[in-house]
Symmetry: D2
Subunit: 205 residues, 4 copies
C-alpha cells in the first residue's frame, strides 16, 4: 500500500486570486519527488476553506476543519507549506497548527495521540529571510502534538536581504532547492514507512 | 490632550462565546493603569471582526481591517493582547500583525512609515509557558513595521508547566502581575508622550 | 547490542559549583527511564570542558570539542539538557549546537551527514516560562544538522510566571513530569532502534 | 555632551583570526553613521575577552565581564552585532545577554533597572537566512532587562537561500543596507537623546 501525504498550503491567497502561489509551486515539486518514493500527495489550499479559530476539533457550523482533520488522520505524512511574512509562518499556517492542539486530548485506547506514527515535513518560501525560524516554530508545534520529524525536514527558498523576487517567478528551480527537495522526500518517505510498520509503543499497563 | 491607546484582544473566542477571555481581563487591568497615566484605552476584540488574510491595508469586500487600521493610526499606543497556544501567539494576533506589513510601503511625505512615533506594548496569558517567546515574536514584527518598544513592554501570566488554570479564574491578581502592569503603563505612557512631542527625524534631503 | 545515549548538560554551572544542577537532575531521571528501555546513558557536563567558539569540528589547541564530538558520533541518541535564561537556551547549549554546524559538510561516502540515523531529545528546566521556545530552537538546529526528532521529544519543568523555585528543589517529581519523561524515553528508544536497523537511504547515483 | 554607543561584536572569531569579521564591518558602517548623528561609538570584540558563563555581574577570577559591564552602564546606546549560525544568534551574543540578566536585580534607589533609559540596536549578518529571528531573540532579551527599542532597530544583510558569500566580501555596500543603517542611526540617536533628557519615571511611593 503506498504512503499518503497531505500537503496544507498556507498561502494567504485563495485560489480565486489571480496571483500564482510560490508555496504551491514548491509543494508541487515535493509532490513530484514523493511520487518517485511511492508517496501519493493531496494538496489542500487552506485559504479556500473557512477554518474557524479555536483549539477543538470541531468549532461548529460552517467550520471547514473537521473535513481537513479527517484527511490529516488518514495521511502518513503531513507536509506544511507556508509563506514567510514578517519572518514568521503565515496566520493561516498558525490557524491549522492551533486546530491540531486538540490532538493533545485525543488519544487511542492505549494512550497515544491520534497523530502518533505520522511524519511531518515542511516547505517554506519568502522574498527574503525567515525559513529557519519558520521551521523552528512549525517543528515545535507539530512535535508537541505528536508528529515525528525526519532528518532535514524542510525545503525552502528565500532571496537576498530585502529582496522582492517571488519563488514562483524564478526562471528555474535552483539546484540547491532541487537537492533539498529530493533529500526531504527520501527521508520523509523512509521514516513514514518505518513508523507505519512499527508504531510507537503504548504506555505499559 | 490625553494619549490614546488601542488594545487589540487576539483571543480565539468571539464575544458570543460563553467563556470569559483571560486576555481581555489582563487588558482591562492595563487599561485601568493607563487611565492613571492619562491614557484613554479602547479595546477591540478581533475575533468579533472579519479580518481577511493578506498583506495590504484593504483586502476588499467584507474586510474589517480598514476600520481597525484607522484606529491603529489614530492611536499613540498599540497594545497587543494575545493568548498562548502551542507556546506561540494566536493566529488572530498573527493575522493583525500581517496586515500591518503594509506599513512598510505606507510612508509620510518625509519617508517615515505611518506607524513612526507610535509605541507598542503587550499582554500575554496562557495556562503555561510561552510568554517570553510570544513577546519576542510580537516585538520583532511590530518593530519591523515601525513601532517603538518601551522598557519592559510586556505584562504576562502563565501557570506552572502543563498547568490548566486560566488567568481569568485566578481568585485575585498576583502581586507580580500588578507590579508588571504598573511598570508597563508608566513606561509606555512616558515614551509615547516623548515621541508625540518629538517625532523621529525624517531622512535628510 | 544496547542503544547508547549521550546527554549534554548545558547548565552554566561547572561541577566545581556548590549549587546542584536542575538540568542534571532532569537528565538523571531520563537516564533512569532510558535504562528501562535498554538504553545506556552517559552524561557530560559541558561547563566542565573548554569548548572553543567556532563552527568547525576542531578549533585547535585546548579545544575540548573533538573528544565530545567522538562521543556524539558513537551515540544513537543525543539528549540535550539546558536551563532557560531570558526565555532561551543557555549560551553553553548554543555553543554545542554551533559546533555541530560542521556536520553540514561531513558526509559519509554516500552523501549522508555523519549524524544521520541519530535521534535527538531534550530536557529543559527553568524557574519560569520558556520551555516550548527552547525546544523550538534546539529542534530546528539539530534537525538542520541531520538529527531525527521523535514524537514528544521534550521533557520540561517550569514554574508559574516570575517564579523563583528551582526544579532541583522541588520536594518530589511532579507526576506530569514523570509521565513526560517516560513517554520521551519510550519514543526516543523506539525510533532510535528503528533507524539503527534501517538507516536513511543514500542519494541515488 | 555627545551620546555614547557601545557596540558588542559577537563574532565567533577573535582578532587573532586571519579572517575579517563581517559583523565588524557592518558595525563600522553604523559607527560612521552614528558619528554624523553626534554619537561616539566604541566597539568591543567579545571573542577577545574571557566572559565567564553565569547570570551574575561578576563570576569571579579571570572574568572579563565586569569591565565590559561598566562600559555598558556608561553608554547611552548598546549596539549588539552578531553573526547568524543555524538561523540563530551566536553563542557569544547569548553569553553577553545572559550576563545582563543580572540587571533584573540591579535597580537604582527608585526601583529602576540600571539599564533604564538606554536604547538598544542591532546589526546582523549571515551567509543566508535568520536576521528577523535573531532580532526577535535579542529584542526580547534586551527588553526584558530594561532596554528600549527604537523603530526599525536592526540593520542586516543575508544572502539568498543556502548562499555562502560573506558580507565582508561584497564588492560594495548594498544600497538597501546603507539606507537601513542610516535609518537605524537616526532613530537610535533620536530616541537615546529623548530618554537621556527625560528618564522613565520611578514607581510612585
Amino acid at each position: 500500500m503506498p504512503l499518503k501525504a497531505l500537503a496544507l498550503n498556507s498561502t494567504l491567497k485563495s485560489s480565486a486570486s489571480s496571483e500564482a502561489s510560490s508555496t504551491g509551486k514548491l509543494l508541487q515539486l515535493i509532490a513530484t519527488e514523493f511520487k518517485k518514493q511511492g508517496v501519493e500527495t493531496e494538496i489542500i489550499r487552506l485559504a479556500d476553506h473557512d477554518i474557524k479559530p479555536g483549539v477543538t476539533s470541531d468549532e461548529g457550523e460552517g467550520d471547514a476543519w473537521p473535513d481537513i482533520r479527517k484527511k490529516v488522520l488518514a495521511a502518513d505524512i503531513v507536509l506544511i507549506g507556508t509563506p514567510i511574512w514578517l519572518g514568521q509562518p503565515s496566520s493561516i499556517c498558525k490557524r491549522a497548527l492551533e486546530r491540531m492542539d486538540a490532538f493533545l486530548e485525543e488519544t487511542d485506547d492505549q494512550g497515544r495521540m491520534v497523530s502518533y506514527g505520522k511524519v511531518a515535513a515542511l516547505a517554506v518560501v519568502g522574498n527574503e529571510d525567515g525559513a529557519h525560524h519558520v521551521s523552528a516554530e512549525v517543528y515545535q508545534a507539530l512535535n508537541d502534538v505528536g508528529f515525528t520529524i525526519p532528518a532535514n525536514a524542510v525545503a525552502y527558498w528565500v532571496g537576498e536581504a530585502m529582496g522582492s523576487t517571488n519563488y514562483v517567478d524564478l526562471p528555474e528551480t535552483p539546484e540547491v532547492v532541487q537537492t533539498m527537495v529530493e533529500m526531504l522526500a527520501r527521508n520523509t518517505a523512509h521514516l513514514a514507512g518505518l513508523l507505519k510498520s512499527a508504531q510507537y509503543p503504548a504506555e505499559e499497563q
